[in-house]
Symmetry: C2
Subunit: 332 residues, 2 copies
């Protein structure tokens, strides 16, 4: 089996070969300059994002680190209403990493980029000695363009805004944990990793009155809502009964002592929107494959500032805090 | 001593605190959205680059991984003639990494960004278990704008073009190797890590007839020239005597059995330019602090295609290949 050598990261012939033989054809790269030159960005504000992926294991039910890294950046751009256009990929490989796994991951990244309509325009590869990394870490950075009239940021959130959730929670985190620990659940749990840009595009065609958006990844739904509450200065109240938790996720969480509200997702979004367009937006989102289970899960209230409150199924109210500690390390 | 915990990367409260207490003030971040929104990019082509830094050790004479990561991205943007504007920083931390070291590195990144006039607009932090990374890895990605009439790419290189080198070679690589192995040289060797954008700006004010530029980092001067030769389809001939090798670098290379042509640099550039402006450009570059030792080191010839030839001091000719193998792993 061919394996990655330290020399693949030293800037010399081995690296050149690796790039020419695998990266250039896979990503259809045109030049190997120090920077990619992006043509065709004519106007508009530009969105710019970065994320590193250290998920363990690198292959899990429903996906792998490569497509996760592509969709993660596509989704981060989408969450500010940008159309994702270009991305880069920075790899850190551990000496001895199987070349076949690298090829699988690159192909998966290429397929994911095509599916999401984003172009991979550049990259970088470093290799560290055996034992100094864990197989492969991937950084993806992306740029996109924000259309006119779109201004999505927690500061725009107002009391009475509705909180919309596009789908069931917990699938990504549980699928990774299951794979990591050799567990199988019935029904099986598969990562929801997916590009949200087409769904967001449909939403923005219908209305510009979206005040905040987040894809609740690390830290889960609870942490994303808490961040928006803190940044906006208002209170978010959600109804436990309205939050879809798939049976497999529910069972796994009970078994493992996890709270699904804190489990990572990679293919759903929260939108905080003006109340008068909430119902219409839900209808629009339900027409999209990734939004079939969209529903309103709560609303924004004036106070108490910076808090998230969960109305439980039995009529109680629970204060929702950010994820505390390391419930699920290396989930993305 | 405070140390990084797995929870600092889990997306929850610890991470939020780390970002609020250290990243936001250090980098003057305004929002913590999923993407940064870049204002003020009105026109022009956009350059986009990424690089990951895994240098070992992370502190070395003349610099550290933080400023290296900032200047590396500034320089990659500069090499296509772009004015660096915005950058992101993606950190992968090993559980147990000292918080004080992280603070030092963040401060150094902030200082470096200010010095280079680039804004850090976003980032990401992941933490992996102890033993699954080597302290800290940093990815930086950057965007910049390319002014009108600037078109720098190896395909523009023509026979008779002159090859200009902005300074002495080998300082970065030797400084890192020395630190790694506990060696001291006399005279001491200090990394040349520096932002090249101001020097490039001066060059582009003088002429647009720059055909190719590279900062010869990993793989050194030899590998960068070979890449340009291959990509342009011409031959590059350089004069050994015209290439400045500092005495400390020369001594260290002799001791360690290294060829300075292959040792990494982080603060010099090669420019391949139209012959009629070469002398003028050298004069311009010498006025800049980072270009004081600029000189013409060779020229482009029609053939043999894709080759780099070194005319040695004693009158011979040597074929220069890319760096082969792993002479100096983890140099940046």
């Amino acid at each position: 089996m061919e394996r990655i050598l330290l020399g693949h990261g030293s800037g010399g012939r081995l690296m050149y070969q690796l790039i020419k033989e695998h990266f250039v054809p896979e990503f259809h790269l045109k030049t190997l300059n120090d920077s990619a030159v992006l043509e065709g960005i004519k106007q508009g504000r530009i969105a710019f994002t970065t994320d590193s992926y250290v998920v363990s294991p690198i292959f899990f039910p429903g996906g792998n680190i490569g497509e996760l890294a592509v969709y993660g950046t596509v989704n981060d751009l989408s969450m500010v209403g940008a159309k994702p256009l270009y991305m880069t990929t920075g790899l850190i490989l551990e000496e001895g990493f199987p070349l076949d796994d690298l090829k699988k991951i690159l192909t998966s990244m290429s397929d994911a980029a095509e599916k999401a309509g984003i172009k991979i325009v550049g990259g970088d590869t470093k290799v560290v000695n055996k034992g100094k990394a864990d197989g492969i870490f991937i950084n993806t950075s992306g740029v996109g363009v924000i259309g006119k009239g779109i201004d999505i940021a927690p500061l725009k959130v107002k009391p009475k805004d509705k909180v919309i959730l596009s789908g069931p929670i917990g699938n990504h985190g549980i699928s990774v944990i299951a794979e990591r620990n050799g567990l199988t659940f019935n029904p099986p749990v598969v990562s929801d990793t997916a590009p949200l840009n087409a769904l967001v595009s449909d939403m923005l065609k219908k209305t510009k009155k979206i005040h905040a958006m987040r894809d609740p990844t690390r830290g889960g739904l609870a942490t994303s809502l808490k961040e928006i509450a803190v940044d906006s200065g208002y209170c978010i109240v959600i109804e436990e009964e309205s939050i879809p938790v798939p049976p497999g996720v529910k069972g796994a969480c009970e078994l493992l002592g996890l709270d699904p509200l804190y489990v990572a997702n990679e293919g759903i979004l929260i939108a905080i929107v003006k109340p008068d367009i909430a119902e219409l937006l839900v209808k629009t989102m339900r027409k999209h494959l990734l939004g079939k289970e969209t529903r309103i899960i709560g609303e924004v209230q004036e106070s108490p500032s910076g808090m998230v409150l969960l109305k439980t199924a039995i009529g109680g109210t629970r204060i929702v805090e950010m994820l505390s500690g390391d419930q699920l390390p290396r989930i993305c």
